[in-house]
């Protein structure tokens, strides 16, 4: 669904690489070493985590952190799955994150449109009010929210999480969306108005596809904020059946600060595998949006 914008320069793929660039082999070598180093620094933890996840507690404590396991303790994964209830927590996390993410993106895109493209008095002030919310620490709203959720009987469901994530995710989303809409040429909408398009249709059929890339980027950001949240989930989940993955990971801490490291890391590995898959999926989409040339964010 590509909308060519008359005022922006057309995507340059057609004219790319008119002249071949010179290569300097020495610079290439240094860059290669740098990249190799970078990859090691980033990948080693993955390996370390995996190795730890198949060690027994004694192995973990008595041998060097960097040694291979003396005995491959695959039982840690079974332990993580049963004691850790990873399946249940994963389901809870998804049930909390997906609706919040959808609401945040839809409402955020709509509000960003209203604040940036539409013209009315007080929109600058409203944007500032939203921006102020970006900066408020979430610790500040916990007690009042807990009171409200409790009084309205929402405690004991996942609703408090969905509502809180939506509310706290909105400020940043609105601000980001408004910023992205700023780079969409206003003339496009003015022309559409002359063509007789209603404003709501304009939002849905013209503006949304134009900021699709932005929505995916913000979505990616918000996904990780919400997925990795501990504080809100810890405060509002009051039963075992409602725990999210992050809260569940705390289960592996035992008496007096003792930890079952093997199962903990097995659970982390399972968790990371899931998020990595989601990232790869979203990443594909983001990059498709970028290289499609339809949108310049």
């Amino acid at each position: 669904m590509s909308v060519d914008t008359p005022l922006r320069t057309a995507p340059a793929h057609a004219v790319r690489k008119a002249a071949p660039r010179r290569r300097r082999p020495l610079r290439g070598l240094w860059a290669r070493i740098l990249i190799a180093l970078l990859v090691v620094v980033e990948v080693y933890p993955l390996l370390w985590m995996f190795l730890t996840s198949v060690k027994s507690n004694n192995d973990y404590l008595n041998h060097s952190t960097w040694s291979l396991p003396t005995h491959w303790e695959w039982g840690n994964y079974a332990e993580a799955w049963t004691t850790g209830h990873i399946g249940l927590y994963l389901r809870n996390s998804l049930l909390a994150v997906v609706p919040s993410l959808a609401l945040v993106l839809l409402m955020g895109a709509a509000a960003g449109f209203a604040l940036q493209i539409m013209v009315w008095k007080g929109r600058s002030l409203t944007l500032l009010v939203f921006l102020a919310g970006v900066m408020v620490p979430s610790q500040m709203i916990l007690l009042p929210l807990f009171t409200v959720y409790f009084r309205t009987g929402l405690s004991g469901t996942l609703w408090p999480l969905v509502l809180t994530y939506t509310g706290t995710g909105l400020p940043l989303t609105v601000f980001m969306m408004a910023t992205y809409y700023r780079s969409v040429p206003r003339e496009l909408f003015e022309a559409a108005t002359i063509d007789g398009a209603g404003i709501l249709r304009m939002f849905w059929t013209i503006s949304l596809p134009m900021v699709r890339n932005a929505i995916l980027t913000v979505g990616l950001v918000q996904f990780f904020f919400i997925w990795n949240d501990l504080l809100v989930a810890l405060t509002f989940t009051n039963s075992q059946d409602l725990r999210t993955v992050q809260v569940g990971l705390l289960n592996f801490t035992g008496d007096f600060g003792a930890t079952q490291y093997g199962p903990l890391f097995a659970a982390i590995c399972l968790n990371v595998l899931g998020t990595l898959a989601i990232y790869l999926f979203l990443n594909q989409k983001v990059m498709k949006g970028l290289t499609g040339g339809a949108v310049k964010g």
Partner: protein
């Protein structure tokens, strides 16, 4: 320009979705007020901490054996919360009158005492006497509970521990050391062991308490059993010379290296493992360690080689060697409001049977009498059980009577704030459309954030918490804030941290983005994904990883190995606030640079190629190209990255909790953590809100600056 005109149906969808969201929220806002869930509970609810599994297991066993009838009438239901979140949870539940039937008491006794005064916690001495089972409690346990909770039996002693020094009999014999009776003998023994190449003590400095217990142990011997009460009652100060002397004596042991290297970063498991693996000769610990000692897999030393001795006497001291520091493990309080006949039946059954079941199944010593004889697993267990049985007097541990005061009062009314949007005009100024598009977001935002913020702002003019109620305090909190050195330190730390990490994250991310765009080009997908990887790691895992990377003991971590390789000395990274700070910075930059790289990469890809080509033809290359062409063109996206980053770093919480938990001391405590601790651990919600206001003001100032800068330059671009 292609506009698809067949999409009108979708418009209605947006409207209805928004409307639905609004209805849900209105329902939330106007829903009926809850009832105080106190009278006649449906379950025998037990709110435990995740870390404790013994009580949970023993109660579950009871529910299927001795207490089956009681369980049928009132089924046992266990819920858990992590220890660190317990105080917060209790305060929130108590504020709603929704405490469960029995619950793990807060980390500081003051919280339970507050609950007791407010009528939320049952007086168990009364209740147990009425049920005729008060004699089922060990006298020593009763004395400990009463000492903790202002002479009230506010909790059940499901666990009862005494503390002392476990020692390695074999090592003592081999070096001709007899069990030390005095501090001087202990020091002499340690020196002898060190001389023989054996580490004298194992201790977890990361947990902190194993070291402070030594200080309190010394104090109880030198000043007598009232030593810590004097501090709590303000008749003595920790800075008095006799208290300072105790701390110095313990510090001296550390200075001589008798706890081993890097004691500050040794965790609980490692310390336990050092002792049970025979690497250290003595280990100050509580009797709960009996479970570890009995476990042949952990205890390679063998239970028969472990001895237990009381903390030695101090020459000329007022204390006696047979006063054992004791604690009730995880104390469990009972809700006074829900204490009915069925609950009573349960408690009676617990009092009669818990002691034997816990000892038999879990090897745990409780404060209940053991009615069915249970054989001792090993000699040390027998020794400790006899000691408890004979003990009539006990002393508390160092932190037992920590901070926190009760203040009765009533909550002030809090005015909700509302904001109205102004009317609009012109072509794109359809008022109804603005309402439909902006309405849902503004509504949710107002309900979930603005109203609670105003609400909390109101709390900053009060004293108290949701248990004791709130009383008007005027500007007292703000005055206190102005003079509080702890808050000043936290503020400075927050600013320093946010500045350094923001610059680090964005700069590293930008460098990576340039690498992706100009060097790797189309081949960057794999590297991009790999570098992004740490972003998806849970904070708990990243914290553990960095602890291991920078550790000095028990194994030298890779960073210190590298230092030694180039001829430098190992550094105890978590031993001082300064070095911890840099590890934190490194961790947060490492963790998020991939994220900023992707964000900035999205901006760089958008720079038209012909602009770059023409600049190259004009002779610009390398750094000049970046400085004069790329940097200005990617300024907007750099700005949004900076906003993201500042947003995250000023509010940093999780990663600090995971890596240092604010330590050493309060050296790495940011405003968020300080606020959280003040509000929930110390129960000063009013003052906690005031700290939050300070943080919010700081954030708003920064936001205004960033907002100005970004708006100005974005309109230009």
């Amino acid at each position: 320009m292609t506009i698809n005109p067949t999409r009108t149906g979708r418009t209605r969808l947006v409207g209805s979705t928004a409307a639905a969201a609004a209805v849900v929220l209105l329902a939330t806002a106007c829903g009926s007020s809850g009832t105080g869930a106190s009278a006649s509970p449906k379950n025998f609810d037990y709110l435990s901490v995740t870390e404790n599994t013994t009580i949970k297991k023993t109660l579950t066993t009871l529910s299927t054996t001795s207490c089956t009838d009681q369980n049928k009438a009132l089924p046992l239901k266990v819920d858990t919360v992590p220890q660190s979140g317990l105080d917060q949870k209790l305060q929130l539940l108590a504020g709603q009158n929704a405490l469960p039937v029995q619950f793990a008491a807060g980390n500081a006794p003051a919280l339970t005492t507050q609950l007791f005064t407010a009528g939320n916690v049952a007086d168990l001495e009364d209740e147990l006497t009425k049920l005729g089972v008060f004699d089922q409690l060990q006298p020593a346990a009763v004395s400990t509970v009463k000492a903790l909770y202002q002479n009230k039996l506010a909790v059940l002693p499901y666990e009862y521990n005494i503390e002392g020094i476990f020692y390695n009999k074999k090592v003592f014999e081999a070096n001709g050391i007899s069990v030390p009776k005095t501090w001087d003998e202990l020091v002499a023994a340690a020196a002898k062991l060190q001389g023989a190449g054996v580490q004298p003590f194992a201790a977890s400095g990361q947990q902190g308490w194993p070291l402070t217990r030594l200080v309190s142990g010394y104090l109880y011997r030198s000043l007598g059993p009232g030593a810590m009460n004097a501090i709590a009652n303000h008749t003595a100060k920790l800075t008095d010379p006799e208290y300072v002397k105790a701390a110095q004596q313990v510090a001296e042991l550390g200075r001589k290296g008798w706890f081993g290297q890097g004691v500050g970063s040794i965790d609980y498991d490692t310390a336990m493992n050092q002792f049970l693996g025979g690497k250290a000769a003595m280990f100050y610990m509580g009797s709960w360690a009996l479970a570890n000692i009995a476990d042949a897999e952990q205890d390679t030393l063998g239970a028969e080689n472990v001895g237990f001795m009381p903390f030695p006497a101090v020459a000329g001291g007022k204390g006696s060697i047979d006063q054992y520091p004791s604690n009730v493990g995880l104390p469990v309080a009972m809700n006074a409001r829900s204490f009915d006949a069925k609950t009573g039946d349960w408690v009676k059954c617990i009092a009669q049977n818990y002691g034997s079941v816990a000892l038999k199944d879990q090897g745990t010593i409780s404060g209940f009498k053991v009615n069915t004889p249970v054989e001792n697993a090993n000699a040390v267990t027998g020794q400790i059980r006899d000691t408890i049985g004979a003990s009539k007097e006990s002393v508390l541990w160092f932190e037992a009577l920590g901070r926190g005061r009760a203040r009765p009062a009533a909550p002030p009314p809090l005015p909700p704030r509302q904001r109205r949007t102004r009317p609009m005009h012109r072509v794109l100024g359809d008022r109804r459309a603005v309402a439909i598009l902006l309405g849902p977001a503004l509504l949710v935002y107002t309900l979930v954030m603005l109203v609670p913020i105003g609400w909390s702002l109101g709390y900053s003019f009060t004293k108290g918490n949701s248990i004791t109620g709130f009383s008007w305090a005027g500007f007292a909190n703000f005055q206190r804030l102005a003079d509080d050195p702890a808050v000043h330190d936290a503020l400075w730390f927050t600013v320093k941290y946010a500045a350094v990490v923001t610059v680090g994250q964005v700069a590293a991310g930008y460098a990576l983005a340039l690498l992706y765009t100009f060097y790797l080009k189309k081949a960057s997908a794999l590297v991009r994904t790999l570098v992004f990887f740490p972003v998806v790691l849970p904070t708990v895992a990243v914290g553990l990883l960095f602890q291991k990377l920078f550790q000095v003991a028990p194994q030298t971590g890779p960073v210190n190995s590298l230092l030694e390789l180039v001829g430098l000395h190992s550094v105890d990274w978590f031993g001082s606030a300064g070095s911890s700070f840099w590890v934190l910075i490194l961790m947060d930059v490492w963790r998020s640079m991939g994220f900023y790289a992707v964000l900035l990469f999205a901006g760089l890809v958008d720079i038209p190629d012909e602009v770059l080509e023409s600049a190259r033809l004009d002779g610009a290359s390398g750094l000049r190209l970046i400085r004069h062409i790329v940097l200005p063109l990617s300024f907007p996206v750099l700005m949004s990255s900076a906003i993201f980053s500042i947003n995250g770093t000023l509010k940093v919480f999780d990663s600090i909790v995971a890596l240092t938990n604010g330590g050493p001391g309060s050296g790495t405590t940011p405003l968020t953590l300080s606020m959280f601790q003040t509000s929930f651990t110390y129960g000063e919600y009013g003052y906690g809100s005031t700290i939050a206001v300070l943080l919010t003001v700081l954030c708003l100032l920064v936001t205004l600056v960033v907002f100005r800068v970004s708006r100005r330059d974005l309109t230009k671009g």
